[in-house]
């Protein structure tokens, strides 16, 4: 049997997977289990995958999502140096699982048929679950991994159900063939509606959309901070990319079935996520809930997928969102390592007494809130609202506006806490080991990128499709 492989699609994922295996082997045979031993091959593999991605010159939307995934994973790998010398965290396994998950993410956005999609979804999910529970002897992590596992399995099962119904109706699993088959007026509408909604459910789960959001705060809270960052940025980008591809390529004919669902889910997601975030007293919990709300903003332009900006807007939004979120999580990882807490009252005055970590966190929060001086955050908010208005969903646009406001309420609470006058004695940041410095440098690089984009938003908006 000869299975045709499109290497422009599979190339980057294969390189990443190979890097994962090399990292695991190096770690197995190199007796001093240092973070660098497996981290270096992982870094090289991701850089090579990025180069291959640029060289292969694939279709614009999968390319943009893949780029976000590769750069996001690279950021996570480098920032994960913060966990060096933490005995509970085995570096070889960590990098292997991380790269496995990113390979899954890469395949997911490049998939053009539903079976590849499900396989990639599993390749992304299973290592992610293991990553969450990887910290040895941490009961909370195990509990979080269990929650994640159960929710993941159920949603995948539902998606499989939907896909099998779709296969039954259309006789194919290829996106393009499914689309053509659905155009036939003879297909029964009710079955198609059920099939479409079920198929979308699994992807909405990965995206963390309401009502499949409950696993997120629990999982992010239990996982290592950088793993939470990975889930919030890379995993979300993959789910969004795959969802948009399915909706735009395979299911345009069934838009009456999914458009209202997507609109309502987007509105509910951003509202519930924001309301949840309002009550958080811990910075990680705050960012976990805020990432649910952001998923709503990512999803909303999907109702306008057939307008000019319907696909461009979520791509640009996720690029900025992923960068800002990774900066925030990396900064929190460093803070957790050095201060031992990420509770808001322990972070008071951080922008004053530890400006190299406090100011990036402030800037990331402002970007996510869409508030100047982080102009790029504001511009991307504008970008996602635009197609929604264009598709005449004014009510959804108003809900988005209200949610921008609620979002500001808690992001600004974080910002003013960080900028407040510190109480108690002056905090002196200790001189950290080199590995923590490497993690810090990623935070600073990410912030520099956000600053550059704020000064010149064209840099991003003209170059992503």
């Amino acid at each position: 049997m000869n299975i045709p492989v499109d290497w422009t699609v599979a190339g980057p994922a294969t390189i990443v997977m190979a890097g994962a295996l090399v990292g695991l082997l190096v770690d197995a045979f190199f007796t001093r289990r240092t973070w660098l031993g497996s981290g270096l091959p992982a870094t090289i593999a991701l850089v090579a995958a990025g180069a291959e991605l640029v060289r292969a010159d694939s279709a614009p939307y999968p390319f943009a999502f893949s780029l976000v995934i590769v750069l996001g994973s690279l950021f996570v790998v480098v920032a994960s140096n913060v966990m060096n010398f933490e005995n509970a965290m085995p570096p070889g396994e960590y990098h292997f699982l991380l790269l496995g998950a990113s390979a899954g993410a890469l395949l997911m956005v490049a998939a053009t048929d539903l079976v590849t999609l499900v396989v990639a979804l599993e390749l992304l999910s299973l290592p992610s679950i293991a990553l969450v529970g990887l910290r040895q002897g941490d009961e909370r992590a195990i509990r979080s991994a269990w929650t994640f596992f159960l929710a993941s399995v159920v949603s995948t099962a539902i998606t499989l159900m939907g896909i099998s119904l779709l296969y039954g109706v259309t006789g194919s699993l290829d996106y393009v063939v499914v689309r053509d088959a659905l155009a036939d007026p003879d297909v029964p509408d009710s079955v198609v509606a059920v099939a479409v909604v079920l198929t979308v459910v699994g992807l909405l789960f990965k995206l963390g959309a309401v009502p499949f959001h409950v696993w997120i705060p629990d999982t992010y809270g239990g996982a290592s901070v950088m793993v939470a960052g990975f889930l919030s940025a890379v995993s979300k980008a993959a789910a969004l990319g795959a969802l948009l591809a399915v909706l735009a390529v395979a299911l345009p004919e069934a838009r009456e079935s999914w458009q209202p669902v997507v609109a309502v889910v987007a509105a509910a997601t951003m509202t519930i996520g924001n309301v949840g975030a309002l009550r958080q007293g811990d910075a990680i919990g705050l960012f976990a809930w805020s990432s649910i709300a952001q998923a709503g903003f990512l999803l909303a332009p999907a109702v306008a997928i057939f307008t000019v900006d319907g696909l461009t807007a979520p791509v640009q939004y996720i690029a900025v969102y992923a960068l800002a979120n990774l900066v925030a999580f990396a900064a929190l990882a460093v803070v957790l390592r050095l201060r031992g807490s990420t509770r808001l009252e322990d972070l008071r005055g951080m922008a004053r007494d530890d400006p190299w970590m406090g100011v990036p966190l402030v800037f990331a929060a402002l970007t996510l809130a869409g508030f100047p001086p982080a102009v790029i955050g504001l511009v991307t908010k504008y970008v996602v609202i635009r197609p929604v208005v264009d598709a005449d969903h004014i009510w959804l646009a108003v809900v988005m506006g209200v949610n921008v406001m609620i979002g500001l309420a808690y992001y600004l609470r974080l910002v003013v806490t960080l900028c407040d006058r510190p109480d108690g004695e002056q905090y002196h940041s200790p001189s950290p080991p080199v590995s923590v410095r490497i993690a810090k440098s990623t935070v600073l690089l990410g912030t520099a990128a956000l600053l550059a984009l704020s000064a010149w938003p064209d840099l991003l908006l003209s170059h992503l499709p």
Binding site: F371, Y382, G401, V402, D458
Partner: protein, 488 residues
């Protein structure tokens, strides 16, 4: 030139905030005053005449969205710009003291510069960026340097110590404004999509967009019933914060209404509501003022009334209305700035602005301070010959002439309410004057007359108020010779 006029205060402000540990307070204030003077001079020089746009700068910015870095001043924005730079300069001079925190000067500069940016933006997205940029610095001005001796609205977060009142007032201000601007953002998106442009003067919002935009600016202006953030924020802020809030921040709202609603084709959708809400605000705020003991709260409520006149003028959609709105806004900036500065002087002396605690007979105890306060108060209630009079008179006239937007019953109802408001305004300011300035002097340890710094700041404002009051044609001639000669 406009770029320089904006960059100088921004850069100096930023440097002062970052280097706050290394600059003495007095030097910082001098630096700030120099920066604002430079900005004021540059803006004054940039004027090229009432026709078209002066000092225009048009660079590409975000190509895919069609947003441009488009700056310039027009007939409508130039008076606002000059007033803002002037008030910013006076705020810096007010801070000339050894114990001034340099960061406060820096924040004042950033707030002023952002407001200048709003007034000089000819691109809507750029305008919105500047509009938001001023908010967080203002939160810090109120929350960190504000003082609230009024415990009735504190206690939201018991862990925060004695600044509770100021902090919750600042947060209330921020949340109200931000919810307004969220609606504004959606409104701008709707307008930009349907008009196909982000240019301020080519944008013609549809009815839906206009309603959203008006709601957004209504919070800022504020229009009753969206005004509840204002008294707390104004009374909790430090003196310069109150001045900036009243003289500059409220103008962001009226300026927005002027440029978005005035030229709109759908003004008849919002016009009647604006007229009635504005007129109702005049009466409502006057009644609220009558119950105030705190001088700063009284001035804050009186601002709502003045903004009511401006909103009423805008809602008529006539040329006279535009002139009245611009004049009313500028006059309110100067007069209310003066009132808040005198209130600040009293706070510096007596530690409070409660009229009963200050005691009576200020004429006898600090004659110049009392005289300035009384002058500001009568200017605020609209005494002919002072700046406050012309704005109110022109608004009333615009309402009387009805215009094309309002119907006669609506316009004249609003007119009647506004006239009632004028009478009530006179009543409460006379009450305030009687309580503070007149009567048998009750000596207080802290009695002393104006210092040199206060003379300069208050004197400059008094001069401006008198000049604009005696020669309103300076400003009105810009608009239409008819109204200029009428005022003469």
């Amino acid at each position: 030139m406009i770029v320089a006029a904006l960059l100088v205060p921004f850069v100096v402000g930023f440097v002062l905030i970052v280097g706050r540990a290394h600059v003495p307070g007095r030097t910082a204030a001098w630096l700030g005053a120099t920066a604002m003077t430079a900005s004021l001079v540059l803006y004054a020089l940039v004027w090229e005449g009432a026709e078209g746009v002066s000092g225009e700068i048009d660079e590409s910015w975000i190509e895919p969205l069609g947003a441009r870095l488009h700056l310039g001043v027009t007939l409508v924005s130039w008076p606002f710009v000059l007033m803002t730079a002037f008030i910013g300069l006076l705020c810096c001079l007010w801070l000339l003291a050894d114990d001034t925190p340099p960061a406060l000067v820096g924040l004042v500069l950033v707030v002023s510069a952002s407001s200048l940016g709003v007034f000089s933006s000819l691109d809507v997205l750029l305008l919105f960026v500047f509009f938001e940029l001023a908010l967080i610095p203002m939160w810090f001005v109120i929350a960190l340097w504000g003082a609230s001796d009024d415990s009735s609205h504190g206690g939201a977060d018991p862990g925060l110590g004695p600044r509770n009142g100021a902090r919750s007032a600042a947060t209330k201000f921020l949340l109200f404004t931000v919810s307004g601007s969220a609606l504004l953002l959606v409104g701008i998106v709707v307008a930009a999509l349907e008009g196909g442009t982000l240019e301020l003067f080519e944008l013609r919002p549809t009815a839906t967009a206009l309603v959203l935009i008006v709601l957004g600016f209504a919070v800022k202006t504020p229009i009753v019933p969206l005004h509840t953030w204002l008294p707390d924020a104004h009374s909790s802020a430090p003196t310069v914060g109150s001045v900036l809030l009243a003289a500059v921040f409220l103008k962001l709202g009226t300026y927005g209404l002027l440029v978005f609603v005035g030229p709109s084709d759908h003004i008849d959708v919002v016009g009647p509501y604006l007229a009635i809400a504005g007129a109702f605000g005049i009466v409502w705020s006057a009644l609220a003022c009558y119950a105030q003991d705190d001088l700063k709260r009284l001035v804050a409520y009186s601002s709502i009334g003045h903004m009511g006149f401006v909103v009423l003028a805008i809602s008529t959609g006539t040329n006279a209305g535009v002139a009245a709105a611009v004049f009313g806004s500028v006059a309110h900036g100067l007069v209310t700035g003066l009132l808040f500065f005198t209130a600040g002087s009293m706070k510096d002396r007596f530690g409070t602005t409660s009229m009963s605690a200050i005691g009576r007979g200020l004429y006898g105890r600090a004659p110049w301070l009392a005289a300035t306060f009384v002058l500001a108060a009568v200017a605020s209630l609209g005494l002919p010959g002072l700046a406050g009079f012309w704005g109110e008179l022109l608004s009333l006239r615009a309402a009387y002439e009805v215009g094309d937007v309002l119907t006669k019953p609506v316009a004249w109802t609003a007119l009647g309410l506004a006239l009632l408001g004028v009478a009530l305004t006179t009543a409460y300011f006379v009450r305030a004057i009687r309580l503070v300035a007149q009567g048998e002097p009750v000596a207080h340890d802290a009695d002393r007359d104006l210092g040199r710094r206060e003379v300069v700041v208050l004197g400059a404002l008094v001069a401006a108020v008198v000049v604009l009051g005696l020669a309103p044609q300076l400003l009105l001639d810009l608009f239409d010779t008819t109204y200029g000669s009428y005022a003469r």
